[in-house]
């Protein structure tokens, strides 16, 4: 599996990662090598195998519908890059 520059660009866009132009060839090479490693999975037939999403065969436990959390906005926002009037600020969102 060999990834092209355009593949890297597409993945980087989906993942919202800036990749420096100069780094793209190396990134493409490394990702391609990893995909080659991953391709070894194809050596085994898994047609009738049930996919395993989780190591434990358990059902979801449910929580009672009770409000347990208090307002901790000030504390939470001390680590925020930019806030105003209690709101997190981001560059203008255009819908």
């Amino acid at each position: 599996m060999s990834l092209e520059r355009s593949d890297v660009d597409k993945i980087a866009q989906l993942a919202r990662l800036e990749i420096a132009e100069n780094d793209v060839p190396e990134v493409a090479r490394n990702l391609s090598n990893i995909l080659d490693l991953v391709a070894q999975m194809d050596s085994v037939n898994t047609d009738d195998v049930e996919p395993m999403a989780h190591p434990l065969e358990m059902a979801q436990r449910l929580r009672d519908d009770v409000v347990t959390e208090k307002d901790r906005r000030d504390q939470f926002q001390t680590v925020a890059p930019q806030v105003e009037n209690g709101l997190y600020l981001v560059p203008k969102v255009i819908e």
Binding site: I11, I19, V44, T46, P51, P55, R72, Q82, Y88
Partner: protein, 484 residues
């Protein structure tokens, strides 16, 4: 003082040989003097540690001391610690002071343990050498030219260098066992769901599990008594009674059935490591264990499957680091996309970006079945291998790693080779099984780790099997020359 185990320190504190404050100061002094050589701490919380130590001393005077009261510990910087920087080894979180404690941290606080600081680690726990940390590589205390392993490399180095009696680690594909092996200490990755993941910054949620890293199996048992247990804040935590892990340590292992997977002793295993493991196996035979060869036929597929499952989950888990509510934000973003791409591009290192990209690709339209679904099916096959094996044997034993510690910089340019250094540890994460690494000798200056894998929730037996070995060997008691 620094060569005592938790069990010994606990006794000394109880007998008044020294106070927790004195003990804590001694460790802080050692960190001050020696850590520059290994770079094992990201943050040292001296003031908090001394305050906690004094509180522990008071608690002891009030007659309310438990086994961990006043014991200094180092916490991997993946656990959120209220009021203390929690970086996860990343520039992304270099400015992140956690507003809350992880469940593991709360439990240690409740037990009266003293936090010395936060240990260095591969960025977001992604790495096998601790070289992906934003805070610089950690060096192996046994040989400063060698890596300590990763991702819990800081924790392993801290314990080996006697910069804390014990530490916590997390293990997604070997991140406790591989550095424990490479640094000559004892580490346990519990069964998935045994220790709460709440407040432990997620790498791959279906694989991550926290565990103890200490000098001995007994210390690991003491720590497990605190760490293990149900947590209503973690849906994947298991509501099952926690045994006292220390009570069965001294049980005889005569008649124990040990399986040796032939796939762990084949091509790729360093000859000297193989020899050390064979010596350890002979020791087990002397202890009365019965050894049989078994097969885990899909072992070779564990690394390939892991490098789909773990990156897929991480690509999603790390989306929250977007420069909006916490963490690194780029300067003067020109629009929203720019904010995201540059904050993440600058905040994450190369390996993290690599894994996010692999995971994004594996989940993307048109590739999901070929990669993600296929990997989930392979995961099932690997898990079934173990199920069959545990019908025949009580524990599985083999090398923890194919080689001893490699040189710093040796594998940084070749991710795939680096990934293969976890070839023997990854399968247990995929299956969710518990595993340990126990010191079992040296190749030159560098330690060898023996891996013991158990059935689900069989941690007590693993600790027993490890403890019995440590009663007749002294690999675990040795200290690196420079840190004695």
């Amino acid at each position: 003082m620094q060569n005592k185990t938790i069990a010994e320190l606990s006794q000394s504190l109880q007998q008044g040989e020294f106070s927790s404050e004195e003990l804590t100061r001694a460790y802080l002094d050692r960190i001050d003097k020696l850590d520059a050589q290994v770079n094992s701490y990201i943050t040292v919380t001296a003031d908090g540690a001394l305050a906690a130590a004094r509180a522990a001393d008071e608690q002891r005077q009030a007659g309310q001391a438990g086994p961990l009261t006043g014991i200094p510990l180092a916490q991997k910087d993946i656990f959120c610690t209220e009021g203390v920087k929690t970086s996860c080894g990343s520039k992304m979180l270099d400015n992140f002071i956690s507003p809350y404690d992880a469940t593991v941290i709360s439990k240690f606080k409740q037990a009266g343990a003293v936090m010395l600081g936060k240990t260095n680690m591969d960025e977001f726990a992604m790495g096998s050498s601790n070289e992906t940390s934003f805070y610089g590589a950690v060096k192996n205390p046994w040989d400063l030219d060698a890596v300590p392993g990763g991702s819990s490399g800081g924790s392993a180095a801290v314990v080996a260098a006697r910069l804390a009696p014990a530490a916590t680690g997390t293990d997604t594909g070997g991140s406790i066992r591989q550095p424990a092996a490479l640094c000559g200490i004892t580490g346990l990755k519990p069964t998935y769901g045994r220790v709460s993941r709440y407040g432990m910054i997620a790498f791959a949620s279906s694989l991550d599990q926290a565990g103890p890293m200490a000098r001995t199996a007994e210390d690991c048992a003491l720590m497990m008594n605190v760490m293990a247990g149900f947590d209503e804040k973690d849906s994947t935590s298991v509501d099952q009674a926690v045994p006292d892990y220390t009570t069965s340590l001294n049980d005889s292992i005569a008649g124990l059935k040990i399986g040796l997977p032939k796939e762990y002793f084949s091509e790729g295993l360093d000859n000297d490591v193989a020899t050390a493991i064979e010596v350890a196996i002979a020791e087990y035979k002397k202890l009365g264990a019965e050894v049989v060869e078994i097969s885990l036929p899909n072992t070779g597929l564990s690394v390939p499957a892991y490098y789909v499952v773990a990156p897929a989950e991480c690509s999603s888990n790390l989306s929250r680091f977007d420069g909006v509510r916490f963490g690194h934000r780029c300067e003067n973003p020109k629009d929203l996309t720019d904010l995201y791409k540059r904050s993440r591009g600058e905040g994450f290192g190369a390996e993290v970006k690599r894994r996010i990209m692999i995971g994004t690709y594996a989940l993307s339209a048109g590739y999901y079945d070929a990669y993600y679904l296929k990997a989930q099916k392979v995961r099932q096959l690997i898990s079934q291998d173990f199920k069959r094996a545990f019908e025949q044997v009580d524990v599985i034993i083999g090398p923890a790693t194919p080689t001893v510690a490699f040189n710093l910089g040796e594998k940084t340019d070749d991710p795939v080779t680096m990934y293969l250094s976890d070839a023997y540890t990854i399968a247990t994460n995929l299956a969710g099984l518990p595993g340990m690494s126990v010191p079992a000798g040296f190749v030159g200056k560098r330690p060898v780790g023996l891996q013991i894998i158990g059935n689900y929730f069989d941690e007590a037996r693993l600790l027993n099997v490890a403890h019995q070995y440590q009663q007749t060997t002294d690999w675990h008691a040795q200290a690196p020359e420079a840190f004695k």
